[in-house]
Amino acid sequence: MIEETLGNDADNWDILITSRRSYFDFNIRELWRYRDLLMMFVKKDIITVYKQTILGPIWFVVQPILTTLMFVVVFGNIANIGTDGVPQILFYLGSITMWNYFSETLNITSKTFTDNASIFGKVYFPRLILPLSKVVSGLMKFLIQFALFLIVWLYYLLIKKSISPNVYIMLIPVLLAAMAAISLGFGLFITSVTTKYRDLAFLVSFGVQLLMYATPVIYPLSRIHHHRIWLWLNPLTSLFETFKYAFFGSGTFSLPWLLYSLAFTAVLLTLGIVVFNKVEKRFIDTA
């Protein structure tokens, strides 16, 4: 009886602050309790980006339009890389919209610790809230750009009748979630390993640029004839190909590789969160 009361007493603490924490001590309930904070961060990101600009959120769509035109000129006409018969504007706009979401989320989440050192040094909240908020605010921006893409897509679909989408369009939420998870997983991992030794941070933005060429963004996978397996190993490949297949009816859809991507994503995200949780406690001592 006495032992039981003692046991109860020991369990009665709400918070335990120690140096040790297991790798899988991941508190979803706490994360949920801070959901309002997540929404505030998202709101802040969106409001502050274009404050004191005249065009405001229109800038969200100017960027992909200009990049698309550039790609049409450079890759479509000068380099003459084909698009599998898909109208060039549509092909590049779709790819860019998807790619931007991935690369921007990765770039910003991979700087979570260094960018927010001053806040992290002053107040506690589950650190994961910040990178998660970047994923969500990135998604808002993505949705605006995606709406632009849908308008162009509908034009080619209904008026030009030059593309033949299929039912795999239903997979778009899965593709998006996977993209978000890959960029978040990578970002968490990178920000965690660069808190103490900054070396890797220099590689990130450069590496993301290189990664774009290792992913079928500006070219269709069908253009690659040899050693295609290496491209498939990139978890982004099947996501982009599924996207193109679903919307344009032109990509290469492969269920095994899509499942591989999803599995890869799950592992990467878990690893990212684990490492991130491990680092977050001591980060402020080495920042």
Partner: protein, 412 residues
């Protein structure tokens, strides 16, 4: 309720970078073999007066304490005593190297006012932003919104971006949000240093309110006034170690008597007494006219006594100069010039209470011949600190002025 058990924190001194990787590898290797972290052993006490002998220092070493629900705890100590480190651990910004802190209830910490304020956001948006960062839900903020705006006095500017606020408004708004937190435990660093006297009064009043509602407050400050008036019990840290923990006034007295580097007495044998062939000084002593031993408060009258030997007959006087540590001379008084025959003499200067301000003072003593020629002088003879008393007013800032005389000033 908070219980700290053997909390310690080790910091690496110097640059993070070169050498860290090899230390990290050694540490990792030791820990994977199940051995103790080799660098925990070589940490030294965090004493800023000595040159570091190790690359590692304990910012906190083996801190144990318990705070009950509804208590107000003050933490005092000199710079570098480990106060901020302890606060950071309690607010979960960093984790201890060893030991554990157990907490019951929600913690909110105010290590800074306005954490997360964004200059582009309006006052209203920042209230929600800052509140959320400090751990409030949207509902809680909604409930307190009007009160926060009122407390800060920014009704007119609530939809203006805070970058256009005056610094005073900014700070008031930030504190207002924090003051309306409703955690069981509130941790406050010296944020009271900001704002004008009226606002300070408001803040302290608010904190007193919070405490009286059965919530726990942990308050770190250099300001003995504020600690005295706000905290029931107090913890005194020195070089990362817990020196004393108990009832506030007792701990503050201990702190003052230990930390104040008073040099109240010096004396010499005739053979090695400082001086020359005209005079030599035998002793100098400050005697506080109080029962409370060493602590000199602004109300304490003190006597300063000198013994000296005159070797040659001459017209001599003693000139006494009182300096603050910043080098300002507060006053200079002299004895009347007299013809002194060779022999031993004794002199006493009385400084009444309620003359000096709270500060650290040093004494220079001059022996002057024929009212004009300095025959001998001793600089920095004695040092003493005058501490402030508990004030009755709700204002705890530094009292301005070189002296603080108790003059009759009243309405007629």
């Amino acid at each position: 309720m908070i219980k700290a058990e053997g909390v310690s924190k080790l910091y690496r001194l110097g640059q993070i970078g070169t050498g860290t990787l090899s230390h990290d590898l050694k540490r990792w290797w030791a820990v994977t073999r199940g051995k103790e972290d080799p660098y925990l052993k070589i940490g030294v006490e965090n004493d800023r007066t000595k040159k570091a002998t190790s690359d590692y220092a304990w910012a906190l070493k083996d801190i144990n304490f318990e705070v009950k629900q509804g208590d107000t705890l003050g933490i005092i100590g000199k710079n570098g005593a480990g106060k901020s480190t302890l606060l950071k651990i309690l607010s979960r910004v960093t984790s201890p190297t060893q030991g554990a802190v157990k907490v019951k209830g929600r913690i909110a910490s105010l290590l800074e006012v306005g954490t997360g304020f964004h200059p582009e956001l309006t006052g209203k948006e920042n209230i929600y932003m800052n509140g959320a960062i400090l751990g409030m839900t949207r509902k809680e903020i909604n409930r307190n919104f009007d009160e926060i705006v009122n407390f800060a006095g920014v009704e007119l500017y609530i939809n203006t971006p805070v970058k256009r606020y005056s610094s005073g408004m900014y700070v008031r708004l930030a504190f207002a949000v924090a003051a309306h937190l409703e955690p069981e435990i509130l941790i406050v660093d010296e944020v009271l240093a900001v704002g004008d006297a009226e606002f300070q009064k408001k803040c302290l009043g608010k904190m007193g309110d919070v405490a009286s509602h059965g919530r726990t407050i942990i308050f770190v400050s250099h300001n003995m006034q504020a600690v005295q008036s706000l905290c029931k019990s107090t913890m005194y840290l020195k070089a990362g170690q817990l020196q004393d923990y108990g009832q506030t006034s007792a701990v503050i007295n201990k702190y003052l008597s230990k930390e104040v580097k008073n040099c109240l007495q010096r004396s010499w044998e005739r053979s090695d007494a400082p001086g020359n062939d005209v005079v030599s000084l035998l002793s100098a002593q400050i005697i506080p006219r109080t029962d409370d031993s060493d602590v000199i408060l602004i109300s304490t009258a003190i006597d300063i006594e000198f013994r000296f030997v005159v070797h040659k007959e001459m017209d001599l006087c003693l000139s006494f100069l009182l300096y603050t540590t910043s080098g300002n001379c507060i006053f200079n008084v002299g004895t009347p010039t007299e013809v002194l025959k060779p022999g031993e003499y004794h002199s006493r200067l009385k400084i009444p209470g309620r003359l000096l301000n709270d500060d650290i003072y040093t004494i220079n003593l001059l022996f002057v011949k024929d009212t004009s020629v300095i025959v001998y002088q001793v600089e920095d003879l004695l040092t003493f600190e005058v501490a402030d008393e508990v004030r009755t007013a709700q204002w705890y800032g530094k009292w301005p002025g070189a002296i603080r005389p108790d003059l009759d000033f009243s309405l007629l």
